[in-house]
């Protein structure tokens, strides 16, 4: 009994129960709609795990989400809701395309320049939200949402530029190959590489390298998570920022400059989202920006990723994997069973819903403890 109470108090238990409940609710909805939930989830698992290339696709999709999830987690720790990560990621993508297409540089260096440029531009975009908050008292949620749309139209405006727009498309030119971070790009497109990969003796490698854009982005994202963890937990700056997040009045009283920390925190959050944008462009096809009619969703999905991870920087890696695994596998449900793939959004929503209610698990533990206490006395 005591073990159960203890387990219920652990945050990780709440997350696992929530995932379980999400899948149960999804199964019930599927069953009501007349689909076999076992078959549906089977299709989903096969859609992720049956081929190495599927798993790699999940990795590719989860990379930007780790970074936007980190962006939002980081801002949460400093007491701010960075709903503007969406726009910051768009700014990162636009900058990456401009620098990646217009500035020819040697491979390797080119990506670094692209990444730094994207991060700087997006950091400024994020800092603008911080300035509006600290200088004019404008709620970061309002300015974040407004800047998301301004970023979207800026993206479309840039594509309208004659020097960037690829004729006969609603998109920009692709960035130069020197800025790509696709793994073994030169080797796998060379004659020797193709021969080696296609001679049939390396099925997994050929599947993964030829059919996907497996790239180095995932390592960058994991490194970024480690850096953010370090900043928050092992540096004075991180301590100041967390103090501001815990209570800005108390932090001010302790001599911490709250205004400056707000701007810096949102600049870092912006840089993370901007890096996500740079990796989206340099990491995988189509290596360009297209005219947007709706928000691409990197930032909004990042909110869910951050919440599923309970805003822990390292937890974000796992939750981004889960999130993109569910979404990528979810498309297989539609392909195999014809069941609407939107079921996955219901599952994800339910998971987040139960994570929000994880206090209920603690309440249950309290109740169990109370009941045990009473029987102990008797």
């Amino acid at each position: 009994m005591k073990q159960i109470e203890k387990a219920l108090r652990r945050p990780i238990t709440g997350i696992f129960i929530s995932i379980f409940m999400g899948l149960i609710v999804g199964a019930v909805v599927l069953a009501i709609a007349g689909y076999n939930p076992v078959a549906a989830y089977g299709a989903m698992l096969r859609g992720v795990f049956s081929k190495p290339k599927y798993m790699v696709q999940v990795l590719i999709r989860c990379t930007p989400l780790i970074l936007t999830g980190l962006s939002i987690s980081f801002a949460f720790k400093t007491g701010m809701f960075n709903i503007g990560a969406e726009g910051q990621a768009i700014i990162g993508m636009v900058t990456a395309v401009v620098v990646g297409y217009c500035v020819p540089l040697p491979p390797g260096i080119h990506f670094i320049v692209v990444a730094v440029a994207s991060m700087t531009a997006a950091a400024l975009w994020g800092a603008a939200v911080g300035l509006l908050k600290s200088r004019f008292g404008i709620h970061e949620v309002i300015s974040g949402i407004m800047l998301n749309w301004i970023a979207l139209y800026l993206n479309n405006y840039m594509i309208g530029m004659a020097w960037l727009k690829k004729p006969q498309t609603e998109a920009s030119y692709e960035v130069l190959e020197s800025s790509w971070i696709v793994m073994l790009q030169n080797w796998k497109t060379s004659t020797a590489g193709r021969e080696w990969l296609l001679d049939g003796s390396h099925p997994i490698l050929s599947d993964v390298l030829i059919k996907t854009d497996l790239n180095y982005g995932i390592f960058i994202a994991i490194a970024a998570a480690a850096v953010i963890w370090f900043i928050l937990n092992r540096t004075t700056k991180g301590y100041e920022m967390r103090a501001v997040g815990a209570g800005s009045e108390a932090a001010r009283f302790a001599g911490i400059r709250v205004d400056r920390n707000i701007v810096q925190s949102l600049a870092i959050a912006g840089a993370l989202a901007g890096l996500a944008g740079a990796i989206v462009i340099t990491g995988a096809m189509p290596h360009r920006i297209t005219t947007l009619t709706a928000q691409p969703g990197y930032g909004f999905d990042g909110i869910s990723v951050a919440l599923m991870a309970n805003t822990s920087p390292l937890g974000v890696i796992a939750s981004a994997l889960l999130f993109s695994g569910l979404q990528y596998g979810g498309s297989a449900i539609q392909a195999e069973l014809g069941a609407p793939s939107e079921i996955i959004n219901i599952v994800i929503g339910t998971i987040i819903f139960f994570i929000a209610m994880s206090g209920a698990f603690k309440m249950l533990a309290d109740y169990l403890e109370k009941r045990r206490g009473r029987t102990d006395v008797q």
Binding site: H139, I145, G160, E342, I344, N345, I346, T350, I352
Partner: protein
């Protein structure tokens, strides 16, 4: 020139109606001390229920009512989480933004042969034609009525006073015999109904069908309008009008031989919102207990 002004007013009112109704929902909810970031999801399910019932019953009013019902039902989830289980309200709101659209698209595929779009409704919500290009959507009149009603309830009735007290200092309200949980439940469900109406004003009046992008961010704009309007019904109303007017300007200036890039022009409503906030509105103070779950007996 004069007819242009009338057209601008017509468009402003048309775009404003969904925003106003939803923003009112936000005001009611947040004044009771519950953050509602799920307005977008509630709008989407309202837009779907409105279009779906409007299509099958051929009666837009039935659709409109169904939308309120759908939004209110979805809001129950938010209430259970954030009041009964003292959940983090932001998180629970984000969950609704997944569940609302997810459920809507799922049901849409069930009711409309696998399509993510509904069929157009045979009859839209009526418009009052006032001569020439000038007309007023009945949804806008409903929005005005609800604004007045919300203002009256919040500031002139006992229940409104209780609701505001619960949002500012729930413990004090509790000691005076106000049932904090009941008030918050009522406020959240009411806000879901209003957001549902807002969604239906989009899918039954601005356009005449449900599509996956029929609501694309209006819920968040409405949320911004709540803060912009300093958590008052009349303030939120005004904020929505300003925003919708800027959208109408985009439509008006974008047509014909305009020299301004339509993309830059489209930024206008968003830039204007920030500018107005910087110049005129200043710091907004949220209800004191906003976002804090109430726990009986906690200090």
């Amino acid at each position: 020139m004069f007819s242009n002004i009338l057209l601008a007013v017509t468009i402003t009112f048309m775009y404003a109606a969904p925003l106003i109704l939803t923003a009112l929902g936000g005001v009611v909810c947040e004044r009771s001390g519950v953050v509602n970031i799920g307005l977008e999801g509630m709008m989407v399910i309202g837009a779907f229920a409105g279009a779906c019932v409007g299509y099958y019953s051929a009666n837009p009013w039935a659709g409109f009512l169904a939308a309120g019902l759908a939004g209110g039902t979805l809001a129950v989830l938010h209430a259970v989480a954030s009041v009964t289980f003292k959940a983090n309200q932001t998180v629970s709101g984000v969950a609704l933004n997944f569940i609302g659209p997810g459920l809507s698209l799922f049901l849409c595929r069930m009711f409309f042969d696998g399509a993510t779009m509904s069929k157009p409704v045979p009859r839209q919500m009526p418009k009052l034609a006032l001569g020439g290009v000038f007309s007023i959507d009945v949804t806008f009149i409903i929005a005005i009525l609800f604004t007045a009603l919300t203002w009256f309830i919040l500031y002139k009735t006992k229940w409104g006073l209780r609701l505001r007290a619960v949002g500012e200092h729930p413990a004090a309200a509790d000691t005076l015999g106000v049932n904090v949980y009941a008030v918050r439940y009522a406020a959240i469900i009411l806000s879901g109904m209003l957001a549902g109406f807002g969604g239906a004003s989009q899918s039954l009046a601005v356009v005449s069908l449900f599509t996956p992008t029929v609501i694309s961010g209006q819920g968040f704009i409405a949320m911004a309008a709540v803060i912009f309007g300093k958590w008052t019904p009349h303030g939120a109303f005004l904020a929505c009008i300003i925003f919708a007017f800027a959208q109408a300007m985009v439509v008006m200036l974008g047509g014909g031989a305009s020299s301004i890039s339509p993309q830059l022009l489209s930024m206008l409503p968003y830039l204007l919102t920030i500018l107005v906030l910087v110049l005129f509105v200043g710091k907004a103070v949220a209800p004191k207990a906003n976002g804090v779950p109430y726990e009986k007996g906690a200090r």
